[in-house]
């Protein structure tokens, strides 16, 4: 058996031995052990190094508040840093390593920082490392040089870069009553609420329900408290309306009683079950919440209080009673309150020798004195610990007579041998969730603690959370809270009886013993009492300044144990009561929460993928796909050995020479229907739609309310009251919301209904000199000649049995048709058209060729309608109707929108016959060394097979007036400079004779 393992301990299963390693050394423990308890049982005292001074540290606590014993857990390449050893349940094969030490935990070179002592005081870095004002280290250089080393010395564990193979999942849960914490108060609350028929969730951050009942060794209802808790849990398990969540930390209290929790589903397993997540994120919407979150014991602040072997009194009691581990053989106690006597007695019963009890108070009550005498310790009232001794483990301590009235130390110092020192500075209720819910805590001078405030959301407190530290009170408050939360009214039966050690819940108002040496307030961040006083001296006196200047409470434990001692030292320095220093407002999370759990199922699957109906065909036929927003679209259909440019030039050239077909299913499509549909479109578009004949389409432009261009597209009149609007791919959702807003909020009198039909229609655009012949060869039920289907005309017909709608409109500038069919038939129709086109030399083309042909035509897209351009900038002012008001018409003529130096759309031709770059700027005078004087930029560019030139669209100041002049592209980012000619944006077939046929 391990050297410190004892016969007590109700949580561990001695029949099950578990093997694990820590820093490469093999250890054994038992089922139920935490890494902390198992290592402690093996005689390990040194668990970690502190942040700043790299001081050796042992276990302070046995729970979630642990600041010292942080480890990294390894699973193959996957690293999980900064886990408190007190929260790691051991399993076979567990590999844990210590952190923030080099080369080893025992010999850490950075411990040299301790010599810096007084220089490395709070905020020292604000006062130095500024470097010289001149020379090579001027400016920020010197600081960055120092920072390089500071960063490497700082930091705790190391994160991995290997992708985590684990699954995380999210659950949305609803309940009438959420009970947080399963100590006696929480168990009673859950039971009471469940008995009322309420849907109850009971969340407990430990693996076992029961809280303090698991280790207090009191008697409840005639049973040892741990057995009573087992029985209560068993009863709850029998309720269909109760969900028990062990290993679940409720970490966030958000609006409308939405609480966030993290369930550690398989952290403690060597091999998680198939499909089992590592963590589960619970978003719980609770009718009401019972906060039974207990309290944290506080350390005392005295020189050497951080030495390994100094621990919180209740933590030692937990190790003995819950885990069967004795943290020391010769144990001393230092306290300012009664609760710690029970802890000392527990250790005595577990087999330790209690060598001394030092209490800052001059006198003890009769009950407590009796407890103290049972420990057979030397009782030293009116005494304080002024120093500890030892290196990586405690060997002894020094005591002196202490006067509580003035904090003075008198008399000779006395040395006592001990290998474990228990300390207790009283208790702070765990009010974090209540504070997150928006309320301000109230200071209780009696309890020397912040107590929960009046609820601002629907929660009820119970037990130690409210400052009622006795189990009897917890049981009574818990049941009352559960009943009230469930809206219950039944008369309760008698409460379970409790036999517990006596004690006054109020501690003496002493947190610090001022003696020579470093007294730690925040253990992990190495904030000392002197640091707090320095902050005071320099004026950083409000609680937030104290935190920020000294970093008190900013470590991974978030000040769970250091908050009140720190405030008390500041209050004393200020000569003010604690609440005047301020109240810390706690924010989520209560305890650190894995990022994987928060991403949950979106880990590895950030956004949905939108695929057109013909997607698989494109992939099967050699398309290179391009991610555009959520969509995937063919970029090119490359032949083997082709570059991207060769492919799109081939596709565009073939389209202009014979025919090409492109998938346009991603265009936004909105059905606009109703008696007022035409009137609505007149208000939405800058141009007129009420005059559009049924069976015809029209190109339309929309502005925003502020008069800037918003979106464009064609809208088809399918019937008197029936329109089909198309939008750009990127703006489909925005336009839909824009239309809905106006119909619902601004013009509810219009009888119009809008429906997004983007996903209902598949679309293909087929264009080129042979397009009509191909269509004629595929379509039945309608002619497609110039009379039946004139420019902007619409017909209905069939393609191999599938009803289609065909509109003759052109983006490519060729004679072209858009063919729409039900989405499910998309591939069928597409394949039919491709097959019919084969004898004519039809090519499939992708976005690159589409873009090339639109640049040649000078059409605008999102690169030009970028939210900052006006209709005039884009030479679309011919579309601004003067006969009617429309959205944006009142605002489009404001001073800033009509000024002469605005950027206007132009075309560019490279005069050096080299490719242009998107995002290159335009200058009048080239200065490659010091680029300046930008007059605009390229929005889109390509090699134009039709022109045999490298061309671009650009937005240039006073653009139209510059037609026919020379300028230069200036692209210092890619070192591309050269002459261009500014021309009209309509490069190709400006009068449209090709598309009109």
């Amino acid at each position: 058996m391990s050297p410190r393992r004892i016969e007590t301990g109700n949580r561990i299963d001695r029949l099950k031995t578990i093997r694990f390693t820590f820093d490469g050394a093999a250890y054994t423990g038992h089922a139920g052990d935490t890494l902390a308890s198992a290592l402690l049982a093996n005689g390990v005292t040194l668990f970690g190094r502190s942040f700043k001074y790299h001081r050796p540290r042992g276990l302070l606590s046995a729970g979630v508040e642990e600041p010292n014993a942080l480890v990294t857990v390894l699973r193959g390449d996957v690293r999980e840093p900064n886990i408190a050893a007190t929260m790691v349940e051991i399993h076979d094969g567990l590999v844990a390593i210590s952190q923030n030490r080099f080369p080893s935990l025992s010999w850490d070179i950075n411990a040299v920082n301790q010599l810096g002592g007084k220089i490395l005081s709070a905020g020292f870095y604000y006062k130095t490392f500024m470097g010289p004002v001149i020379g090579p280290f001027k400016g920020t250089r010197f600081w960055m040089f120092c920072e390089h080393f500071i960063r490497r010395a700082a930091g705790l564990g190391r994160a991995g870069s290997a992708a985590d193979p684990a699954r995380y999942e999210r659950m949305n849960a609803f309940c009438d009553v959420l009970v947080v914490g399963s100590g006696p108060a929480g168990l009673m609350a859950a039971k009471a609420a469940a008995d009322q028929g309420a849907r109850v969730i009971l969340a407990e951050l430990d693996p076992r329900f029961g809280g303090s009942a698991n280790w207090s060794d009191e008697t409840i209802d005639g049973l040892p408290s741990a057995d009573w808790a087992r029985r209560a849990v068993k009863q709850l398990e029998g309720h269909d309306n109760v969900r028990l969540l062990p290993r679940t930390t409720v970490w966030g209290y958000y609006d409308n009683n939405t609480l966030a929790a993290l369930e550690r589903v398989s952290d403690h397993k060597e091999n998680p079950g198939k499909g089992e997540p590592l963590h589960r994120y619970w978003a719980i919407r609770a009718g009401s919440v019972v906060l039974a979150t207990g309290a944290f014991e506080r350390p005392l602040v005295f020189p050497g209080n951080d030495r390994p072997g100094v621990m919180l009194a209740h933590a030692a009691e937990r190790y003995a009673n819950e885990f069967g581990v004795l943290p020391g053989d010769k144990v001393a106690l230092f306290t300012n309150n009664d609760s710690a006597y029970r802890s000392a007695l527990a250790l005595k019963k577990a087999g330790a020798q209690i060598v001394a009890i030092a209490d800052v108070r001059p006198e003890l009550s009769g009950d407590v004195r009796k407890l103290a005498e049972e420990t057979e310790a030397e009782i030293l009232t009116g005494h304080a610990v002024i120093a500890t001794e030892g290196g990586r483990a405690l060997t002894g301590l020094k005591l002196q007579r202490f006067d509580m009235a003035n904090g003075g130390l008198t008399g000779d110092a006395r040395s006592i041998h001990a290998d474990c020192l228990l300390m207790s500075g009283g208790w702070s209720p765990t009010i974090h969730l209540a504070s997150q819910a928006g309320a301000r805590a109230e200071w209780s001078p009696a309890r020397q603690a912040f107590l929960p405030p009046q609820p601002t959301q629907k929660w009820i407190g119970a037990g130690a959370f409210t400052g009622s530290f006795s189990t009897a009170e917890a049981i009574a408050e818990g049941r009352a809270a559960g009943l009230a939360a469930a809206g219950g009214s039944s008369t309760p039966t008698a409460l379970p009886s409790v036999e517990a050690a006596p004690g006054d819940p109020d501690p003496a108002p002493v947190f610090e013993i001022r003696a020579k040496g470093k007294s730690f307030v925040d253990f992990q961040h190495d904030v000392t009492a002197e640091d707090v006083r320095l902050a005071h001296r320099e004026g950083f006196v409000s609680v937030e300044h104290l935190k920020r200047y000294t970093t008190l409470g900013m470590a991974t434990d978030q000040g769970k144990s250091s908050n009140v001692p720190g405030l008390s030292i500041m209050a004393e320095a200020l000569g003010k009561p604690i609440p005047e220093v301020g109240t810390t407002r706690f924010r989520p999370p209560f305890a650190p929460v894995s990022i994987g759990s928060l991403a949950a199922e979106r880990f590895g699957d950030l956004k949905p993928e939108r695929l057109t109906p013909m997607h698989d065909w494109h992939v099967d036929n050699g398309a290179t796909m391009y991610s555009a927003g959520l969509w995937y679209r063919p970029m090119i259909y490359g032949l083997s050995g082709e570059t991207i440019e060769q492919a799109y030039v081939r596709e565009a050239r073939a389209t202009r020479e014979t025919a090409g077909i492109v998938d346009v299913s991603t265009l936004g499509k909105i059905a606009i229907q109703g008696p007022d549909a035409a009137e609505f479109l007149d208000r939405v578009y800058t141009n007129m739609f009420s005059t559009l004949a049924v069976g015809k389409a029209r190109y339309g432009l929309m502005l925003r309310e502020d008069g800037f261009a918003f979106d464009d597209g064609t809208t088809w009149r399918l019937g008197e009251q029936d329109f089909l609007m198309t939008t750009t791919t990127a703006n489909a959702g925005k336009v839909m919301q824009h239309l809905e807003y106006f119909l619902d909020v601004i013009w509810p009198e219009l009888k119009v209904h809008v429906t997004s039909v983007t996903d209902q229609w598949a679309g293909a655009a087929i264009g080129g000199p042979k397009a009509r012949q191909i269509l004629a060869a595929s379509v039945t039920g309608t002619a497609v000649d110039n009379v039946t289907l004139p420019f902007m005309g619409i017909v209905r017909g069939e393609i191999s049995g599938v009803p289609v709608m065909i509109c003759r409109l052109s983006f490519s500038g060729e004679m072209a048709f858009e063919v729409y069919c039900g989405a499910g038939y998309g591939t069928h129709v597409w394949e039919t058209l491709v097959a019919a086109g084969k004898p004519f030399g039809l090519v499939t083309y992708g976005l690159e060729a589409l873009g090339t042909m639109r640049i040649e035509k000078g059409h605008v897209t999102g690169a030009e309608i970028d939210g900052r351009t006006t209709a005039r900038d884009l030479h679309l002012d011919w579309m601004l109707s003067k006969k009617k008001p429309f959205i944006g018409s009142a605002m489009m003529d404001r001073e800033g929108l009509v000024s002469s130096d605005r950027l206007e759309l132009v075309g560019l031709m490279a005069l050096d016959n080299r490719p242009l770059n998107g995002g290159a700027h335009i200058v009048e005078e080239l200065d490659e060394a010091n680029p300046h004087g930008s007059i605009g930029h390229i929005t889109a560019c390509c090699y134009s097979p039709a022109l045999g030139k490298h061309i671009a669209l650009a937005l240039v100041k006073g653009g139209k007036a510059r037609h026919g002049t020379r300028a230069h592209v200036s692209d210092p980012l890619r070192n591309r400079f050269g002459p261009v000619e500014i021309v009209s944006n309509h490069f190709y077939d400006p009068d449209g004779s090709r598309m009109h046929g």
Partner: protein
């Protein structure tokens, strides 16, 4: 935060799109009162307290809702359809 849509019941805020200050009055389409247009497009009450605002249940029934919500506490005191014919169009006191 939960918003109780009159059609769909209480739903998480993630289903809704915020459409801003509900106190803004859009001038008549043909209005030449540019000050009124500017106020409508650019100026906001932005109170610290109850705020009359428009939300769209974009992940649900797509109705626009007129919501009175406290900007200090996020507490919602009323939700109604923004469309006039679904119920009374609620206006905040004064200040617009």
């Amino acid at each position: 935060m939960l918003i109780t849509c009159p059609y769909c019941g209480p739903r998480d805020v993630i289903e809704f799109t915020y459409q801003g200050d509900g106190n803004r009055e859009r001038p008549e389409p043909a209005s030449q009162n540019f000050e009124a247009w500017n106020a409508y497009v650019y100026d906001r009450l932005n109170p610290a307290g109850d705020h009359n605002e428009i939300w769209q249940h974009s992940g649900g029934c797509r109705s626009h809702l007129r919501v009175v919500r406290n900007t200090l506490t996020h507490e919602i005191s009323s939700v109604a359809f923004a469309r006039g014919d679904h119920g009374p169009r609620r206006k905040m006191e004064g200040k617009s």
